[in-house]
Amino acid sequence: MGKKSASLTFFKELPQNIFAGFVVSLVALPLALGLAIASEAPPLAGIIAAVVGGVVVAVFGGSHITISGPGNGLVIVLLAAITSLGGGDLYQGYLFTLAAIILSGGLLFLFGALRLGAMSEFFPASALQGMLAAIGVGILAKQFHVMLGLTSVSGDTIEQLMRIPDSLLLFLGFHPFAGIIGVISILFLFFYSKIRNPYFHLIPAPMWVVVGSIGVGYYYQLVLKEVVPIPPELLIKIPEKIISALPRPNFEKLLDLDFLGVVVSITLIAVIESLLSIKAVDKLDLKKRRSNVNKDLRALGLASIVSGFLGGLNVVTVIARSSVNANNGGTNRSANFFHAMFLVLFVVLLGDQIQRIPLTALAAILVFTGYKLASPENLVRIYKIGPEQALIFIITLVTTLFTSLVTGIAAGVLSTFITHLFLRKSLYLFSLNVFKPNVLMYREERTGNYYVSVKNFCSFLNFYRLKMKLDQIPESEHAIVDFSLCDFVDHTVMEGLHDYQRSFDRKNGLFETIGLDIHAAQTQHPFAVRKSLPINMLMGLKNSLTNRQKNLADLAKQLSWKYLPKINSNPKGIKGFLFFESKVVNYSVNTLVHEKQKFSVFDLSYSEGAFITKEDLKGTFLLFKSPVALPVFVLDKEDFKTALYQWAGFNDINFKKHPDFSKRFHLSGNDHVEIKALFNSDLIYFFESHPIFHIESNGKQLLIKGNDRLSGLQEIKIMITFAKDLVSLLKNQK
């Protein structure tokens, strides 16, 4: 792409990035306020971090659709820093912490400059999960009390956890109104994804909570003409003069050991959180680009320095907000910039409304965040990978809770290494080979495939070597990773390889791992246990068919199709469709196949968004081969949402001759000429006279999506007839 066309695309996509930035700012506002308050910093500190992050990272960053701002992971470290460094004086502690944030920003910048982006690979996956869970428990323990309207509960994480039952019994006696707002908010957050109304989902859940709780305040004031029954200490306070009230970071403790410890912890968590987020968000990018991690780290470091001087928290890449960006059509860093600008607008224009947000509602959002981080599902998932992984997880979790993050993660690394020794029963293999190169990669002259061979052992200790080689393979190629000379492969590596497999899949490359089957037979090799178990477990549950499944089997018989009730974790053929570009496909199940004409109907489980904005969805899809070559297009019902998208710059192809069709359908695609040629009067009449489905073409195949839920038997029948009619119509056209 030339420079000119690149800037042309930039301007063309500007409206949709502004739109995405706006939606992100709706999530960012409550989170930024909440995270700052949870760290005992002034509420504006979070906003400052988000604004500075948005601007600086948008200009200097190396990723595309990530959003930066104050991070969840840092709450615990910052809270500890602010309360301990000031020796009881929170404001003094905040000033010392600002200095620490500035220093850690410098360190972060150095990390990027020295290209240490691969560092996060040195931490075993289970230990990282354990650490994140500990952070989640920490947030949850503290904010649970605030959510109920009790701000006076103190003590360390464990004590606060123990007091949760007490608070639950007592909270109605203190500030019942505020507490009930908190409880309603948390219930709403848990049930939000169950409400399946597309208009409702245009505004992210955290914003609903904030808007709702402000609304209740106004209702009391304007309708009932009463004072809002929320005490002032449970409302947000913003200083009148924002500019003149800028705090000055205090560097007095520069050589203090505690202070330096804080700097190290902040940097460590910032690096880990950012890298994990960038890696996850890259998989949601519609344009399938690869982020420049080191450049992004430099930008984040710079942003943290600026934010620290202005009194803000430090800036990291955040997963939930980034995934909201991806889902709303953000395509480049300008979305990050606009999210910052909208935040500035909010604070300037809606300062009064922001001061009406009850802390209990914000605490509910944080409790939800904490719960998502520490969700028991994580432990169950890890236990399925292997009991030893669960042990590592728990060791890290408990150590972090009782000591500090740095000690916790160190314990996690150590326990992982000890488990490896125990599993392999040989110190020799690890000690002798850890510093030696063990990866060979070359492009086979005959086939043009990339061949990668790994020797000795491959674990979190030396995964970076393998990664360095794998990163050099373009994802559209065919890569083969051979482990037959390798005696030990750990869970971190297997998970990392799975990530590679997915990014190769996205770009239509092929990523194969070979040579692991022998290990599984010989020893308790991680591969067999780790890769196949979760799905086997699921299959085990599906022994007896449900009524719907029996009906489907009958339908298959009636049509003389084949019915496969099995769960397929890697459904084929759906990768090329735009619909799945910013979604993660989990598995397909209940497949009906017609072999000859290549029809297949299946239920699909997929998810949208990540972390607290994650929504698991299920739907029934019909996939079939088109008898003629088609342009790539998406046809959907014209409604409020698509109208909004249109306004944000997504194009809709309209036909002057067919006003009814143009009004009811939203048709989009890049090749306007081809699409207009395809949609002749017959086809348009066909669509007008049939039920409206979401239909997509990827050139060769057509995908029909039923409702936003699983379709019933009757609906499936309608879908099949619809598809058959469409095929015969397309055939006749030819």
């Binding site: 450049k295 990669m441 070359y442 002259e445």
Partner: protein
């Protein structure tokens, strides 16, 4: 023994060797390794000497840019003819530093891939030139191909020989071995630490 070789003007020294050494031996150096390093002549290290002759089908030989390589490749073809091998693979190990583009994102990846392809072509021309200088009688009897690998020198070829199950690996002798090379393994040291197969080290006359 090393002295003997020098006195008698030995051309080839045959040694049996351990496939792998443990930590202590690695740093002290086993006899075979010591001899390999100090012998003034060519050395053949045998892993599994057997009375029954195992056919030597596939020979891997280094082809990196060094004045010794010409002689080594010539020797390889002579050995290959003598043992009636089927195939010789010339491996050019190319240091990653020659690519000089670090892969960060899509753009740098594209750039690096293009550069690699260019270097790859250059290397191929260089190696083919070497082979052109060898009498046709020898090169015609054997199938030969080239393979370029981007990776640390000395290590990649050993690993490659193991992956393709080569029967003989032919290498240049090292220029000047020093003690610190054992801590920062270079070229031959990688292979000596972990013999992938039988290894023949050709001592160049220029070096001797």
């Amino acid at each position: 023994m090393a002295n003997c070789c020098e006195e008698f003007g030995v051309d080839l020294l045959l040694l049996g060797a351990l496939k792998r050494e443990n930590v202590v031996k690695y740093y002290l150096g086993s006899i075979a390794r010591k001899l390999t390093r100090e012998a003034p002549c060519s050395v053949l290290l045998m892993l599994k000497p057997s009375i029954e002759r195992i056919p030597c089908k596939h020979i891997v030989v280094n082809g990196f840019d060094s004045p010794q390589t010409q002689e080594t490749v010539e020797a390889a073809f002579s050995v290959g003819c003598a043992l009636s091998s089927e195939k010789i693979t010339l491996v050019e190990e190319i240091s990653e530093s020659r690519v000089a583009v670090s892969v960060d994102d899509d753009r740098s990846l594209r750039k690096a891939t293009l550069r690699k392809e260019k270097i790859d072509r250059e290397e191929k021309i260089r190696v083919t030139d070497i082979i052109k200088k060898i009498p046709l009688a020898k090169t015609k009897r054997l199938k030969w191909e080239t393979q370029s690998i981007f990776g640390s020198r000395g290590y990649s070829i050993g690993h490659y020989a193991r992956v393709v199950r080569a029967d003989l690996l032919i290498m240049n002798a090292q220029e000047k071995p020093r003690f610190y090379h054992r801590f920062f393994p270079q070229d031959l040291e990688h292979i000596l630490a972990e013999l992938p197969t039988d290894v023949l080290i050709i001592q160049s006359k220029k070096n001797g």
